[in-house]
């Protein structure tokens, strides 16, 4: 972890930022989370993997001389002079609920989808989801594709989605776009991933073809 003294010795450039209302002076190479810790403040909630894949550290960011407020991940946001950062609490979980096992066949997916996510076809194209996504995903397009039943294509757009729920927070129609994306990915695997190499091995195992011997040789 970043050591205060070694940073000072390195003579790294210090910048002034405000994080959750606290004025902090810290080296410019730190993330918003690291800067809080560096200044001696505690931060536990909204901290996770620290490498941008868990989606915990949702923050609002405003840069100096710019009135625009952006949503980002705190662990991926390097501090800059005059930057303001606010940590966001996590929203209530989405009300959408479904079980893959309850979709009886792949012919039924589209019908079920509109029952589970009725709001998805009501997208008003406000682009709030796209603007909020810290991964730059074309969320809105994904929702539109899913609503047209193009689940494989929709799911491909969400490869980098970390389920930070920022698009869920941003959506005025309560579509829960990230869950739409995940639904699209999951039905694609559930109904269409049928690898012959795996299935052949499973059959072999069932027929008892592959017993293992644990009395193997040791050198």
């Amino acid at each position: 972890m970043t050591d205060k003294h070694s940073m000072r010795e390195m003579g790294e450039k210090l910048v002034n930022v405000k994080i959750d209302g606290k004025a902090i002076t810290a080296p410019a190479s730190l993330s918003a989370i690291q800067a809080l810790w560096y200044a001696g403040y505690s931060r536990i909630k909204s901290v996770g993997c620290l490498e941008g894949v868990c989606g915990s550290c949702r923050v609002l960011v405003r840069r100096a001389g710019n009135s625009e407020v952006r949503t980002q991940l705190g662990c991926q946001t390097l501090i800059e002079e005059g930057m303001q950062v606010m940590f966001l609490v996590f929203p209530r979980p989405t009300h959408h609920t479904y079980k893959l096992e309850e979709i009886s066949s792949s012919w039924e997916v589209q019908t079920k989808f509109h029952k589970i996510f009725p709001e998805a076809s009501r997208c008003r194209e406000c682009r709030g989801c796209n603007a909020s996504c810290p991964k730059g995903i074309d969320v809105m397009k994904g929702v539109a594709l899913a609503a047209r039943g193009r689940f494989r294509e929709a799911g491909e757009l969400f490869v980098e989605c970390v389920m930070c729920d920022l698009c869920l927070t941003a959506c005025p129609e309560l579509i829960a776009p990230n869950h739409v994306g995940l639904f699209s990915r999951r039905v694609t695997a559930y109904f269409h991933t049928r690898p012959s190499n795996l299935i052949r091995r499973l059959e072999g195992l069932q027929r008892g073809k592959f017993e293992v011997n644990i009395e193997g040789e040791k050198p």
């Binding site: 931060r43 901290v47 993997c49 915990s56 012959s196 190499n197 195992l205």
Partner: protein
């Protein structure tokens, strides 16, 4: 401050004509003895109390295993009590697999997680999952590879169960809605792990863990499992006959204690990376502070291999704020070479992780590393070399690596990255049987917190396999064993014994365990959590 300067090393890298492997002057055992951090003599102590008394253990871990508890009886006066059949502690891949199976078997399940559901090392896993599915590969070969890579210190009975489960684990994951990289005919693609004899790792890009966790989290969220987030466990509880019977939760939202009484408890708390053993950076999640080992040990569970940890060969060495970030073994599997500051290839990149790490540490110790500044030294991971032989592979199969390069201001297609070993995995852990049952009745341990599968060194892809294989096993068994008559009395009585033993052994009582959060987060100094700590007498 030895090493070759960055600019000089870059010139060597660019000028190098041949990439012939330099002949190694050391055999694996000798190399590990001399350079692997596990063998640093001053890092080991002998445990003074508990079921592993007399066993060798890493000094930093021993301090926590022999620490005082955070609570005593007085803290629990007035705490509310909740009852359930199965209590799962930890919300990573192992915890989710266990909880889903237990719920499916009809048990009432509470999942308590220190942070949020899915906050875990699972979500960060990149390389893939081992399953012998290719023609010419067999579960037997998988078993032999795993045991050999672990220096024959793993438990063959456990490994046998795991390798036989593997293909069905993949099927189960697909049924949870997890995608894998498929070839043009829809078959699973495979890559080879270091130290193994067949292409056996199935994967989804270098986002395998993220893809797995997304699917599992959604399955859990859509089930009847009651998820408690921000609810670290500070102590396990036991009944009148010593069975594990629940846990004390510290609710971080309102700083209160809650007692969860359960028929069976499944511990899935993960590993220890954030202890920064031997001062190493780590690839691990913020919550990987070894809590489960401390909790289980206090209740009397036997542990094993407490002196064996995995340092992943390719952690990012520079810049400092990203130091320790993992670069998947999949990059070496795709053909990337490791080169020292002289531009020389010094190790077979697909040897086992402990061997490759020790070889990198040797290069750096002997002055052939690339020196960036006083804090950072490393060796080159030749990503442009892979791209030359297989154009487009980085963007297509290793997008997370490209993204990491962006963050460092380096395009891995054109420039090599600097890497240095990073603390990655706890090889040992709680002793378990084939159902994940520990030596304490009613206490199951799955995933990284458990021990015995990986011996002294784990191969790529066996961790993601283990968490699902044993997670499912423990979930089923715990649900089945939760139909008992219930407990007469559930207490933290084991703590008086612990304190007596610590006092007799003359241990310092200042250290409190479990650690819960890394030191850098300043948890103990935070006024928000005042009510959570033991009151000063």
């Amino acid at each position: 401050m030895t090493g070759i300067s960055y600019s000089e090393a870059l010139a060597h890298y660019q000028a190098a004509k041949s990439r012939d492997l330099k002949k190694s002057d050391m055999a694996t055992d000798e190399l590990l003895q001399a350079f692997h951090p596990d063998y640093r003599e001053d890092s080991l102590v002998s445990l003074c109390v508990g079921p592993n008394q007399g066993d060798s253990c890493h000094r930093q871990l021993a301090e926590l295993l022999q620490s005082d508890a955070r609570i005593d009886e007085a803290d629990l006066a007035g705490a509310s009590i909740v009852q359930t059949d199965v209590l799962v502690i930890g919300g990573g891949g192992a915890g989710c697999a266990a909880a889903l199976m237990a719920e499916q078997a009809g048990a009432r399940v509470i999942m308590a997680t220190k942070l949020r559901l899915g906050d875990s090392n699972t979500v960060m896993a990149e390389g893939g999952i081992q399953a012998s599915i290719e023609r010419g590969d067999t579960p037997q070969m998988h078993l032999d590879d795993s045991l050999k890579a672990g220096h024959y210190r793993g438990d063959p009975k456990l490994v046998a169960k795991m390798v036989m489960d593997a293909p069905d684990v993949i099927r189960w994951l697909i049924q949870q809605g997890m995608q894998f990289d498929l070839d043009e005919f829809g078959d699973l693609m495979t890559r080879r792990a270091g130290g193994t004899s067949a292409d056996r790792v199935v994967y989804y890009r270098d986002y395998t863990g993220l893809e797995m966790m997304r699917a599992l989290r959604e399955s859990v969220r859509n089930s009847k499992i009651d998820v408690w987030d921000y609810s670290p466990v500070v102590e396990l509880m036991s009944n009148e006959s010593g069975h594990c019977a629940g846990a004390v939760i510290s609710n971080l939202k309102d700083c209160s204690y809650v007692l969860i009484e359960a028929q069976t408890v499944i511990l899935a708390t993960g590993g220890i990376g954030r202890m920064h053993l031997n001062g190493f950076p780590t690839s691990n999640h913020f919550g990987a502070t070894g809590d489960g080992l401390v909790l289980a040990y206090r209740l009397g569970a036997k542990l094993r291999d407490l002196d064996s940890f995995q340092y992943h060969p390719t952690g990012l060495a520079h810049p400092q704020h990203l130091a320790g970030t993992l670069i998947t073994e999949g990059v070496r599997s795709a053909g990337a070479q490791l080169l020292n500051g002289l531009g020389e290839r010094f190790v077979d990149e697909l040897k086992t992780r402990d061997h490759v790490s020790a070889a990198i540490l040797k290069e750096c110790a002997e002055g052939r590393g690339v020196r960036v500044d006083e804090n950072a030294v490393g060796v080159w991971l030749d990503t442009p070399g892979v791209e030359r032989t297989n154009p487009g592979i980085l963007a297509k199969r290793l997008p997370k690596l490209v993204e990491l390069g962006n963050k460092c201001g380096i395009n891995p297609v054109e420039m090599p990255l600097l890497v240095y070993p990073t603390l990655h995995y706890q090889n040992g852990g709680v002793v378990i049987d084939e159902h994940g049952q520990s030596t304490v009745p009613g206490l199951y341990c799955v995933g990284e917190v458990s021990g015995g599968i990986h011996g002294r060194n784990r191969i790529m892809g066996n961790a993601l396999l283990e968490i699902i294989s044993f997670g499912r096993r423990a979930g089923l068994q715990a649900a089945e064993m939760s139909h008992g008559r219930g407990h007469k009395k559930v207490t933290i009585g084991h703590l008086s014994k612990l304190r007596r033993e610590l006092a007799v052994a003359g241990m310092p009582m200042e250290v409190k365990g479990p650690m819960l959060f890394p030191e850098c987060a300043k948890f103990e100094k935070d006024a928000d959590y005042e009510g959570f700590r033991r009151k000063k007498q």
